[in-house]
């Protein structure tokens, strides 16, 4: 099969035009050979993107470490409160143990909707300025503990920042949400155990 008619003037014209239009630059080889080598490789897109990946990974690791520290701090601090809190659970034992009674903070009380019980507070924490404690007063153990005979009065909601706000809803055992409260964590204080973060309180959508 032949693709052209050599005698056809139109074919000749097309060929000439294509050769003219698509003639490779005369100094192409020299230019390429000059520019192709190492400097280009060092700036290759793959290396650049690898650098970005490394930077992003470092940022993620740093953020993760900060988060870990943030999580650890209240737990460690809460350990210091454990003794006081466990005594507060049983107010009668406060005087016996020489633990000061909880001091209600000024300002509005918290209005709580707890199935089967209520939360008292906020109370001041002398060792923990800026924080407030909320004591679960009378709650059906099954609601809060999910069964199992837990010492209910030792459940405290620890508000780290500004604890003068509206209401806390316990939606299921050990998880809660809060409206217009800042950073909140729910600690489970066992009288003879290590306090642990058992839930986080989130803002309710308005």
């Amino acid at each position: 099969m032949t693709d052209r008619n050599p005698g056809d003037p139109l074919d000749r014209q097309i060929d000439a035009a294509l050769r003219e239009r698509f003639r490779p630059p005369v100094d192409l080889a020299a230019r390429l050979e000059r520019t192709l080598l190492q400097p280009k490789i060092e700036r290759s897109p793959r290396r650049r993107s690898l650098a970005w990946v490394l930077v992003a990974a470092a940022v993620l690791v740093a953020a993760f470490v900060m988060l870990l520290q943030k999580d650890r701090r209240p737990v460690l601090e809460a350990k210091l409160l454990q003794e006081r809190v466990s005594h507060w659970g049983n107010l009668a034992s406060c005087s016996q143990a020489g633990v000061p009674l909880p001091v209600p903070l000024p300002g509005p009380r918290l209005a709580l909707d707890l199935a089967g019980g209520s939360i008292e507070g906020p109370y001041a924490v002398p060792e923990w300025p800026g924080a407030a404690l909320f004591r679960v007063a009378t709650v059906d153990p099954d609601v809060i503990a999910g069964g199992g005979g837990k010492v209910v009065h030792a459940l405290l909601v620890v508000a780290r920042a500004d604890a003068t706000r509206n209401r806390i809803e316990v939606q299921e055992p050990w998880t809660a949400t809060v409206r217009q409260l800042g950073e909140l964590q729910v600690f489970d204080f066992h009288p003879h155990g290590t306090p642990a973060v058992v839930g986080r309180l989130r803002r309710l959508p308005d």
């Binding site: 693709d3 139109l10 074919d11 050769r19 490779p24 390429l32 050979e33 080598l37 280009k40």
Partner: protein
């Protein structure tokens, strides 16, 4: 080592290092440039594509099998790189300017031709033979255009075109035949219209 020597070395089974690759790539660059220009349908981005393809080739130099056709290996990389560029260009919808042609025009001290512009400011295809040829070329599929240019400009035979683009020889022949027929048809129509 001279460039033809490097090419022979690569074909004979010698491993290429980066310097050797650059020299060998430069040696076949006119043919590779034609592949890029053919796929893209214009000159302006062909060299960019060639450089991009060269970087890809360098990064994948360990994948080149010594003893195989270096030109064909590079040709396939250039073709796929150019096809990718075509896809990006379709997304960007930018207009091309051919710096080579502008340079030549300025050097010849001729007035710079003003491209025809539509009422909404869009570029219209040229009305002369070159404009009609360019419009007809743009209607061709990229691989067909590359086949045609390799045949006409580089005067490769169908086997060589096929090896360079990584397609069967029969397909290359068919592409050239149909591309030429399409150009002939478009340009005959223009002649008929002018008459």
């Amino acid at each position: 080592m001279t460039s033809p020597g490097l090419l022979r070395g690569a074909a004979a089974g010698a491993r290429l290092d980066a310097d050797g690759f650059a020299a060998a790539f430069a040696a076949v660059s006119p043919m590779l440039w034609t592949v890029a220009a053919g796929v893209l349908g214009c000159r302006s981005e062909a060299e960019d594509v060639l450089q991009e393809a060269a970087l890809i080739g360098l990064q994948r130099l360990d994948q080149f099998q010594p003893g195989t056709d270096f030109r064909a290996w590079c040709g396939k990389i250039v073709r796929y790189t150019a096809l990718n560029r075509c896809r990006q260009r379709r997304r960007r919808r930018t207009e091309r300017v051919d710096p080579g042609q502008l340079d030549e025009t300025i050097a010849a001290s001729a007035p710079v031709p003003v491209p025809p512009v539509g009422q909404r400011g869009e570029l219209l295809p040229g009305t002369g033979f070159d404009g009609a040829l360019q419009a007809a070329l743009e209607e061709l599929r990229p691989t067909a255009r590359a086949c045609l240019l390799l045949k006409v400009v580089m005067e490769l035979d169908y086997e060589a075109i096929a090896r360079t683009l990584g397609i069967p020889a029969g397909t290359a022949m068919s592409h050239v035949h149909r591309a030429r027929a399409a150009l002939r048809r478009a340009l005959s129509k223009r002649s008929g219209g002018e008459a």
